[in-house]
């Protein structure tokens, strides 16, 4: 018995991945056109598939396996593993198709994905130019209050690295608060070859009637230009960027005609679009004091912003509270899709059967061009005896007519004054620091230059003795004095002493012959001229000059 129990546990443990595993098949878009190539993804969650799952495509579609990846995530200590298989789905022919269920073997156990239904439309007119941009409203005719989608699209048969759109002002069109602005990229193939399509969508609500069309948008595209020479780019030292050139395109205008709504009947909800309503109560048999959540779901192609259910008509034996609506929207395949969940909480206060009259919700249908009335029923609620006030109403807003209080402090609002207006200095810091340091550095540089100049001046050598006697004055005594001074200075420099203190013998004492003889002879001759009245001839002058040059070592 114990052995069998262990075997059962082992089988359960072995099979548990397969039991817990899920397979999910998804496609980038379900509305394709002939020639379009999109990504198809098969996710196997919490299970390891036995090999790559084969997706058999019906005639008119082609599926090619591309890659596989695996990822593990941990949320709240729950580890989840996902194996993702990427395929390429190509629409070959027009038609309605069903893809799947895709069989996947996980730990020997057969699993299957859900099916995906696809519509392949006719091949669009594709441009034969290398690139073309266009702008369009979907649809081009609308009613005031209707959501239209602005599509701007770039189709290119050449490699586009980047595109930047500049859209004109959208007068009379307001973006709904809910709704994404998706961008999709895919490839189309035709006889001219592959073409990349890059399209973006903006949902907009027409807020006034008239011609709200746009003149055209501008798009700047950066095209790969691999033939371009690769010079050294200071902003791309590692040469990671593809060489490119920029082109500007202007689209054709996008027409949009908006009509005013016909006079609205009383009770018009304000919803413009094609909507579907459904309602459900979470229980129909309760005790007094219990709460019943009556949930109305709505979905359609119009905005649900600001929409609230009108309160249920008051009936004896119940109080009704309105909960905050939950709404959301998205743009898929170029169409705006909104969905909402609106809850009213019914709290019975007396025994019996509660019967509410149906709610009538009036909307305007753009496709039919008229107002429609939707009836939403509340099922009868059987109320048994109980204790009033025991209800556990977890979430409801104010009763009709009362304002609901915010759950948390709202975001702090916009700023109009304050220190936050200080211009960010970060981009200019280098300049700022350089500018502030410049005067000081300039002054320091000036100081340094001045000091250098002074030092150079100090170091500048005064004319030497032989230079001073190169040109002599006319007066013989001045000549003799100058020659003697030069001779003594040369002697002093040579001997390291004071020129004035040198007598003839002492001056010549340290000199070798014949310089010693020349010096003594020159000094004697000069003494004779200066103190003996002798003539200063050219010989004496030359003798003195030679002695000076000899002392200077020349």
């Amino acid at each position: 018995m114990v052995r069998q129990l262990w075997m059962l546990l082992a089988v359960l443990w072995w099979a548990s991945p397969a039991l817990a595993a899920r397979v999910d098949l998804s496609v980038a878009t379900r509305e394709l056109v002939e020639g379009q190539v999109v990504a198809l993804t098969l996710d196997v969650i919490d299970g390891k598939p036995d090999g790559v799952p084969q997706i058999s495509a019906p005639p008119g579609l082609e599926v090619h396996y591309q890659s596989q990846s695996q990822q593990t995530t941990s949320v709240n200590f729950k580890v989840s593993r996902m194996v993702r298989f990427q395929y390429q789905l190509k629409a070959v022919a027009e038609g309605e198709y069903t893809l799947g269920p895709v069989p996947v073997q996980v730990a020997g156990q057969p699993l299957a994905s859900r099916v995906v239904r696809l519509t392949v439309g006719p091949r669009p007119e594709t441009p034969d130019r290398p690139y073309v941009a266009d702008l369009a409203f979907l649809p081009e005719e609308a009613w005031v209050g209707q959501v239209v989608v602005l599509r701007y699209r770039l189709r290119a048969r050449v490699e586009v690295l980047e595109s930047q759109w500049t859209l004109p002002e959208l007068d009379g069109l307001v973006a709904p608060r809910e709704g994404d602005r998706p961008r999709s990229r895919y490839a189309l193939e035709d006889e001219l070859g592959p073409m990349a399509v890059d399209e973006s969508f903006i949902p907009l609500v027409a807020s006034q009637r008239g011609d709200l069309g746009l003149d055209g948008a501008m798009v700047r595209i950066s095209l790969a230009d691999r033939a371009k020479g690769r010079g050294r780019d200071p902003f791309d030292p590692f040469r990671m960027m593809t060489p490119s050139r920029t082109e500007s395109l202007v689209t054709d205008s996008a027409p949009l005609a908006v009509r005013a709504l016909p006079p609205a009947p009383a009770g018009f909800t304000g919803l413009v679009g094609d909507f579907e309503f459904a309602a459900q109560a979470d229980k129909t048999q309760v005790s007094v004091g219990d709460s019943v959540n009556w949930v109305v779901t709505v979905q359609g192609d119009g905005t649900l912003e600001g929409f609230e259910l009108p309160p249920l008509e008051a009936v004896d034996g119940a109080r009704v509270y309105q909960s905050s609506p939950r709404t959301g929207a998205q743009v898929r395949d170029g169409r705006y899709q909104a969905a909402g969940e609106l809850t009213q909480v019914i709290v019975p206060t007396a025994e019996g059967t509660l019967a509410f009259p149906p709610l009538e919700l009036i909307t305007f249908s753009p496709t039919q061009g008229r107002y429609l009335t939707h009836r939403v029923e509340v099922p009868p609620i059987e109320v048994q005896a109980g204790a009033e006030g025991e209800a556990a109403v977890e979430s409801f807003g104010a009763a009709p007519g009362q304002a609901a209080g915010p759950e948390v402090r709202d975001i702090a609002g916009e700023k109009l004054v304050g220190p936050a207006f200080a211009v960010a200095l970060d981009p200019y810091l280098g300049w700022l620091v350089a500018l502030a340091a410049a005067p000081g550095l300039g002054l320091l540089g000036l100081t340094g230059w001045e000091r250098l100049r002074e030092r150079r001046r100090a170091l500048e050598v005064a004319p030497g003795p032989s230079q001073r006697i190169a040109r002599l004055p006319e007066d013989p005594l001045e000549r003799a004095a100058l020659l003697e001074g030069a001779l003594r200075e040369a002697l002093a420099v040579r001997g390291g002493g004071s020129a004035a203190s040198l007598d003839r013998r002492a001056a010549a004492a340290g000199l070798d012959e014949p310089l010693r003889g020349q010096v003594e002879s020159a000094l004697r001759a000069l003494d004779r001229v200066r103190y003996g009245g002798a003539e200063l001839g050219a010989d004496e002058v030359e003798q003195a000059r030679q002695a000076v040059r000899g002392l200077e070592g020349r």
Partner: protein, 259 residues
Amino acid sequence: MRGRWIAIALSLGLAATLATRMPGREIVRQGAARMAEGDVPGARARWCDAATSPLVSAAIDYNLGVAWYREGDAPRALAAWRAARARSPRDPDVAHNLALARARLEGVPAPVGPAVGWLALVTPGEVGGLGAVLLGVASALVGRWRAGRVRARAWALVGGLGLALGLVGIHAAWVQVRHPVAVVVDREAVLRAEPAAGAAATGTLPAGSEVRTDGARGEWLLLRSGDGARGWAHRDGVRLAGEVSDRSECVIGGPSDGG
């Protein structure tokens, strides 16, 4: 002496005039007027325009975040508020709004902090600006030193400190530019091992993830999340804090991720 005071008064007057006539302030007022009329996209478009100006301030990013948030785009609001926080890190409103926007997002990894730790308290501009002021004082001291009124150590000390602060500020600003905070917008970002669409996916980051950018290659960014996940993601789904990469975001109802 009198001439010096006149020069100082004239400089202050000029600075005050420039501050009050700052283009951002007027644009913020215009956006606020539209916001008061309930025209949130219009307000966002005005502020988005201002955010592309070279004289951007934290107030513009902050208000842009408010507009994105009111339009229901919490990830873009986060990106704008992260930019505002980088420019005004001690602003309590920015911190409050960031916390509120993060609370709306589920499953996102822990947000990354600033590129340099102390940037949570002060901005590179404040540090570098202080350095510049000290350098200016040091310049004045050099003039006085030349006149024999102060010792050389005065300008050396002040100038050295100013230069150090200036260089620290410049370095932090450079790091911030090199490794900006990025926020995943619109939809989850697939992280890949290589900067190529065909490379193996290494993980995903949900919309609203605040991550650090470690590098860039063409249209791909190398991202690192707060919990350590790292990989290349196409920049279409990622908005760098403070970046208005696509002018079409500046039109009413502009695209979330460029066109």
